[in-house]
């Protein structure tokens, strides 16, 4: 990591593991698996074999069958394919869909687009801690409901939804269940042999793999039919056309393999860092933790602070790299819609900072973040007319 910055934005993207880089580099030269895996000549077949090997590595991480994984460009594309593909495939049965306002925009905006095309979408609000009540979900499911989408770990707060209970409920009511697991795969155990999940989106760059490669898991059940949303080739079971990026897929496979081996150690590491950070800032007057500790993935800590403007807070924290409460709306400066959905005021949402850590984060990084955060809060408050 560059010495002139402290990177605490692992929930946005992780640095690539050097072991992943090494494996990818081997693909990128004339001696490597550079060929098109769809080609039937020897070089193409070699590339296809490497793609299959990476698929097996990812499948092992998820305890899934390799043939149930479709390579995509990332979680956003996976979300679009899963939601639009499943909704349109089942539209003849009914056009009612269910999701939450705290979903990532890749999910929420896909549902909004479907709503404009004649689907009916029910938006279930979380409780004050960001969790979905299964009773609320049970009441919302109707005979014509076809799909429920609830993310596993929230990208802003780290809140972990009980996707096992949600999935079981959906199965019992004959409804497909999709989860955006971009923030959990490679970090928490995701065991698709036992989880009642029909569709799952993931991306490699959240677990030390390269950007630009992800996957969609589709359960091996007759109900799990998905229609393609792009056209132009027979790749990936005709669900996702386009030449496969072999070096990215190799990177995703190696990253998945490493995540499986190191997940427990990484989890303990980020939990210790999260506790150290919280201990260092908890005494700041007016501080609110967004998401209850027991409900959250420990690699994310989201806090709001009263009387402080978010953008100024972030500038005052440089060179510590964190996400603001308006991270997904940085051009508009709008307060986080996720935090507003949890009942936070606009001011609290706007002052929110998301710290997220990973395996390269050190205690020194956390100590620097504590010092810069405290100093920036003090600086902003010294100028503020808000008392």
């Amino acid at each position: 990591m560059s010495q002139d910055l402290v990177y605490l934005d692992y929930a946005a993207t992780t640095p690539i593991d050097l072991r992943v880089v090494e494996a990818m580099q081997e693909c990128l030269t004339g001696d490597g698996a550079f060929a098109n895996p769809a080609s039937i000549h020897i070089a193409g077949r070699r590339a296809a074999a490497i793609v299959d090997s990476a698929r097996e590595q990812l499948a092992e991480l998820l305890d899934a069958r390799p043939e149930r994984l479709i390579w995509t460009s990332g979680a956003t594309e996976s979300d679009n394919l899963a939601i639009r593909g499943a909704a349109t495939a089942r539209a003849h049965r009914g056009k009612h869909l269910i999701t939450m306002p705290t979903e990532h925009k890749a999910v929420a905006d896909t549902f909004r687009a479907l709503a404009r095309e004649g689907f009916e979408v029910t938006w279930l609000s979380p409780d004050d801690n960001g969790l979905l009540s299964t009773e609320l979900l049970a009441d919302a499911i109707r005979d014509e409901t076809q799909l429920v989408s609830v993310m596993h770990v929230n990208n802003e707060t780290g809140v972990i939804q009980d996707i096992c209970a949600i999935g079981e409920l959906c199965r019992s009511r004959g409804v497909l269940f999709h989860t955006d697991a971009a923030q959990s795969v490679g970090k928490l155990e995701v065991d698709l042999r036992n989880l009642p999940v029909d569709l799952l989106s993931l991306t490699a760059h959240k677990f030390y793999g390269p950007q630009g490669i992800g996957a969609l898991y589709i359960a091996d059940r007759p109900q799990c039919s998905v229609l393609p949303i792009m056209f132009g080739g027979a790749q990936e079971k005709r669900l996702r056309p386009g030449t496969l990026p072999v070096h990215l897929i190799v990177g995703a496979g190696v990253a998945a393999s490493l995540a499986g081996d190191e997940r427990e150690v990484d989890l303990a590491h980020v939990a210790a860092l999260r506790d150290r950070l919280w201990a260092g800032i908890a005494a700041i007057p007016g501080l609110t933790r967004n998401g209850r500790e027991a409900d959250c993935y420990p690699g994310i800590l989201n806090v709001s602070v009263a009387g402080v403007e978010g953008e100024s807070l972030l500038l005052g924290m440089e060179p510590v790299c964190v996400a603001s409460g308006s991270a997904c709306n940085s051009t508009s400066g709008e307060p986080s819609y996720v935090l507003r959905s949890l009942g936070r005021s606009d001011a609290d949402a706007q002052s929110a900072v998301r710290f997220s850590f990973g395996k390269l984060t050190t205690e020194d990084d956390i100590d620097t973040a504590i010092e810069r955060y405290r100093r920036s809060v003090e600086h902003c408050r010294s100028m503020s007319p808000v008392t």
């Binding site: 009387g307 403007e309 953008e311 100024s312 500038l315 005052g316 051009t331 508009s332 400066g333 709008e334 606009d346 001011a347 706007q350 010294s382 100028m383 503020s384 007319p385 808000v386």
Partner: protein, 128 residues
């Protein structure tokens, strides 16, 4: 300034050293106050002008605002201090936006500067 760099060097310097941040409560017998806000982003700016013999002897600001508006407020204070109250309206938001490389999307917030200055000026008949 690179397109990916949101703040130019002057904004960074002004934000880090806002010498005029604060208020003048109880310092001058005649202190004018202009309190303006913008609901969309919750920005708020308060200017305090200590008047002595028709001049702005001292001026301070308080801001709940983004770094650009903080920097703009500091510029206004530095330029206004010691001058005549009647000269304040020559400060224009668009000129400040150009000088501080403020994104167009922040025009609404930057207009708070003009609003605050106009409020001070409107009170000038009562001053000194």
């Amino acid at each position: 300034m690179a397109a990916s760099e949101p703040y130019n060097e002057e904004v960074r310097a002004l934000f880090e050293n806002p010498f005029h941040a604060g208020d003048l409560q109880g310092v001058y017998p005649e202190t004018l106050t202009a309190d303006v806000s913008e609901s969309e982003h919750g920005a708020r700016l308060v200017l305090y002008a200590g008047i002595d013999d028709g001049k702005i002897a001292e001026i301070r600001f308080r801001a709940f605002a983004c770094p650009h508006l903080v920097a703009a407020a500091e510029v206004v204070c530095r330029e206004a201090e010691g001058g005549k109250l009647s000269e304040l309206p020559t400060i224009k938001a668009n000129e400040l936006m150009e000088r501080l490389s403020v994104p167009v999307g922040k025009t609404g917030r930057m207009l708070l500067i003009e609003d605050a200055v106009e409020k001070l000026h409107a009170q000038s008949g009562c001053a000194g």
